[in-house]
């Protein structure tokens, strides 16, 4: 098992004819993901190395029964593309695009919640990888193999770093989910952690947070009340100064809110072990699961 993406994933890529869109669509297909379609308005009828391109999501879904969308279009078109995918009946939308206006994200989030038909992962995220099954996004799959550790993270490269130190100690992953570094992620820590709790393959959950907002604090409450599996956390940004956006739109300490220290304390207060460095996260994983094979 795994969560969100697996062998049943049928992927349609919005922006497949762009440079990055093409590159990552083909990489995802090479990994084994069933990439069934692409959407680029005005390029319907063409194909990208055999992947058919459609003008609209509605056509793509009708012709290929795509159930998952990956959004690769520039920020100004991304909100519309997400809404188009949802309108066409796509159930899982993974938005890689970085730099979407905050008010667009707010509108999209609230429309999707109201309709209740589709789940959005991201935006500004590296995507989802279920090793050995499917890769939807830009996570470099070569560093990860199948296993029992579920990872959920607000950051891309930090996830690779933590995945790598876990791999060096022999751990593999059920699924790695990048929820993105923006202020309004479509899916939050709590929802992904709940999915890992239900997933029989996942035996340990690693949560990578960072400064800004209160998602980690809320996750701490949820874990204490509803999660039976061990959870190890990491928080980036202990040395971040207040009022400065640290690369991600969502990573900012505003006033007394959103500091790494407060997040680590909230998690530790609820019994979640917090690694101070990525290496410590791997050491905590070893202490909880025993040395992996």
């Amino acid at each position: 098992m795994s969560i969100l993406v697996d062998a049943s994933t049928k992927l349609c890529v919005s922006g497949i004819t762009g440079r990055e869109g093409t590159f990552h669509s083909l990489r995802n297909r090479e990994y084994g993901t069933d990439v069934v379609a692409g959407v680029t308005p005005g390029k319907g009828g063409q194909d990208v190395e055999g992947i058919p391109v459609f003008n609209t999501f509605a056509e793509a879904v009708e012709e290929t029964a795509a159930n998952t969308a990956m959004i690769f279009v520039p920020p100004r078109f991304a909100a519309d593309s997400i809404l188009e995918a949802e309108d066409a009946g796509i159930e899982l939308i993974v938005a890689i695009t970085e730099g979407i206006p905050a008010h667009d994200e707010l509108r999209v989030y609230n429309i999707l919640r109201k309709n209740g038909r589709a789940r959005l992962i991201g935006p500004n995220c590296p995507g989802i990888l279920s090793p050995g099954k499917a890769n939807v996004g830009i996570i470099p799959a070569a560093f990860f193999r199948e296993g029992n550790v579920g990872v959920v993270s607000r950051s891309g490269t930090l996830t690779y770093q933590i995945g790598n130190v876990l791999a060096q100690r022999g751990f593999g992953n059920s699924t790695i989910v990048g929820i993105g570094g923006d202020p309004v992620p479509g899916t939050d820590f709590i929802e992904v952690i709940s999915m890992f709790e239900e997933d029989p393959e996942t035996e340990l959950i690693v949560m990578c947070g960072e400064i800004g907002g209160d998602a980690e604090e809320r996750a701490a409450e949820h874990i204490a009340a509803h999660v039976s599996k061990p959870v190890v956390a990491y928080i980036a940004g202990f040395t971040a100064p207040p009022g400065k956006t640290m690369g991600h739109a969502g990573a900012i300490v505003s006033g007394s809110q959103g500091t790494a220290r407060a997040k680590a304390q909230a998690l530790e207060g609820k019994g979640v072990r917090v690694g101070r460095t990525p290496t410590q996260v791997a050491e905590l994983a070893v202490s909880l699961l025993g040395a992996a094979a």
């Binding site: 920020p75 100004r76 730099g99 979407i100 206006p101 905050a102 008010h103 667009d104 707010l106 509108r107 989030y109 609230n110 429309i111 109201k114 590296p126 830009i138 470099p140 070569a142 560093f143 993270s153 607000r154 950051s155 891309g156 490269t157 930090l158 996830t159 690779y160 770093q161 790598n164 570094g181 202020p183 309004v184 990578c208 960072e210 400064i211 907002g213 209160d214 998602a215 809320r218 990491y234 980036a236 940004g237 202990f238 040395t239 971040a240 100064p241 400065k244 956006t245 640290m246 690369g247 991600h248 739109a249 969502g250 990573a251 006033g255 007394s256 101070r276 460095t277 990525p278 290496t279």
Partner: protein
């Protein structure tokens, strides 16, 4: 992007939020002309983005031309908590009957705009929130519904504003919400929102925004060409400006170890690991995903433009970024600018072996490679300490 008070007020005026009449001045002569135009008494306000301007002497009332000159001369060029005053806002004086607080904030937890209103204005709202939370009325607005008049009434009655200004406060909230949505702000705050004195018998009172604090979403600037032109020269750090012009995500910090990494989370983590090892980072620099050689060269120049930097750490975990490209960029940078400080390089991920081979072949002076993030952090801290001792 945080706006200066006058920029916020000009934005308010465009949306019919009542604000006192004012003019911008960048010299004493301009300030006097503006004051003459507006009439006396008027208020001379330093335009810097920092709290406590009044206490620092950056806001003064001028009753006549001589006082206007005296204050303008004193405030222009004044240093307010590290920021130099380059601009003055000259504004008509207001007679204040009461000071309220109003704001619209982007509440990321609730995924909705949050409106706040309090009759305890004119002071630090975080203090009010801590000491007397009940004094702040709060209401989330469904962004798909938008602001309705009843929202304004509910807040005004909940906050306990004076009965004669309930409608005007409601109308002000509606307009502030309009500013928030149509200008794509993440914060619109008025503190104080004043009730003006009106006639002597207590009739004819009105409301006005006496201050304006507005944060605009940088990601939405493509839809707001006018706002994209707004600048705050007093708050701009030259090194941060240089980085921005080169398309790099850069934040200046207080230490002496230059940091470059790829991906915001990894760079934040690198700062923490360096601090854990006893060092002090000089900057946050995210070279981004897919960093090409010339981006790396650019980044090295930006890092080294800070004279405090004694050693530099490159921490790369290649996903989209290819380690061989990073190595080429570093070799190129050494070729062009011949850095005088030691570099520690940790390359892992896509094409890492090729990257390390290129670095070994180039045999750059003063460049050390380390296999892990922890070892690299320890090494760079050691090198920076040696450099500061010598």
């Amino acid at each position: 992007m945080d706006l200066l008070e006058y920029q916020g007020k000009q934005l308010f005026a465009r949306h019919d939020v009542p604000v006192p009449e004012g003019r911008l001045a960048v010299s004493v002569e301009e300030a006097l002309a503006a004051a003459d135009d507006i009439g006396y008494p008027c208020v001379i306000k330093a335009q810097v983005q920092i709290g406590g301007r009044g206490k620092a002497g950056g806001i003064k009332i001028a009753r006549d031309r001589d006082e206007a000159r005296e204050h303008a001369e004193a405030i222009l060029g004044m240093d307010i908590r590290g920021l130099t005053v380059h601009e003055l806002w000259i504004e008509e004086a207001s007679e204040i009957a009461a000071e309220y607080y109003a704001s619209v904030v982007f509440d990321r937890s609730a995924k909705a705009p949050l409106l706040m209103l309090s009759t305890k204005g004119g002071m630090d709202i975080e203090e009010v929130a801590a000491e007397d939370p009940a004094a702040i009325a709060r209401l989330h607005v469904d962004p798909l519904l938008g602001f309705q008049d009843f929202h304004g009434r509910r807040l005004a009655f909940a906050a306990g504003v004076d009965g004669d200004v309930v409608r005007q406060v409601g109308a002000m909230l509606a307009k502030l919400y309009e500013v928030f949505v149509s200008e794509e702000a993440t914060l619109v705050e008025v503190n104080p929102l004043i009730v003006t004195a009106g006639a002597g018998d207590g009739t004819g009172r009105g409301v006005r925004a006496l201050d304006a604090k507005v944060t605009l979403d940088e990601n939405a600037m493509f839809r707001h060409a006018d706002n994209a032109q707004l600048r705050d020269i007093s708050a701009e750090d030259p090194q941060e400006r240089m980085a921005k012009e080169r398309g790099l995500t850069f934040v200046k910090l207080d230490g002496d170890i230059g940091i470059l990494g790829n991906g915001a989370g990894l760079v934040m983590s690198t700062l923490d690991v360096v601090a854990e090892a006893g060092g002090a980072p000089a900057n946050f620099l995210d070279a981004g995903g897919g960093s090409k050689a010339d981006a790396i060269t650019n980044a090295v120049e930006v890092i080294l433009s800070n004279p405090r930097v004694r050693a530099v750490l490159f921490n790369i975990f290649g996903g989209i970024t290819r380690c061989d490209e990073v190595a080429r960029g570093l070799i190129e940078a050494f070729d062009q600018i011949n850095p005088q400080v030691p570099f520690v390089v940790r390359l892992d991920g896509t094409n890492d072996q090729e990257g390390r081979r290129l670095l070994a072949e180039a045999n750059l002076p003063n460049v050390y490679t380390e296999a892990t993030m922890d070892d690299a952090a320890r090494k760079v801290v050691e090198l920076a300490a040696e450099a500061s001792a010598s």
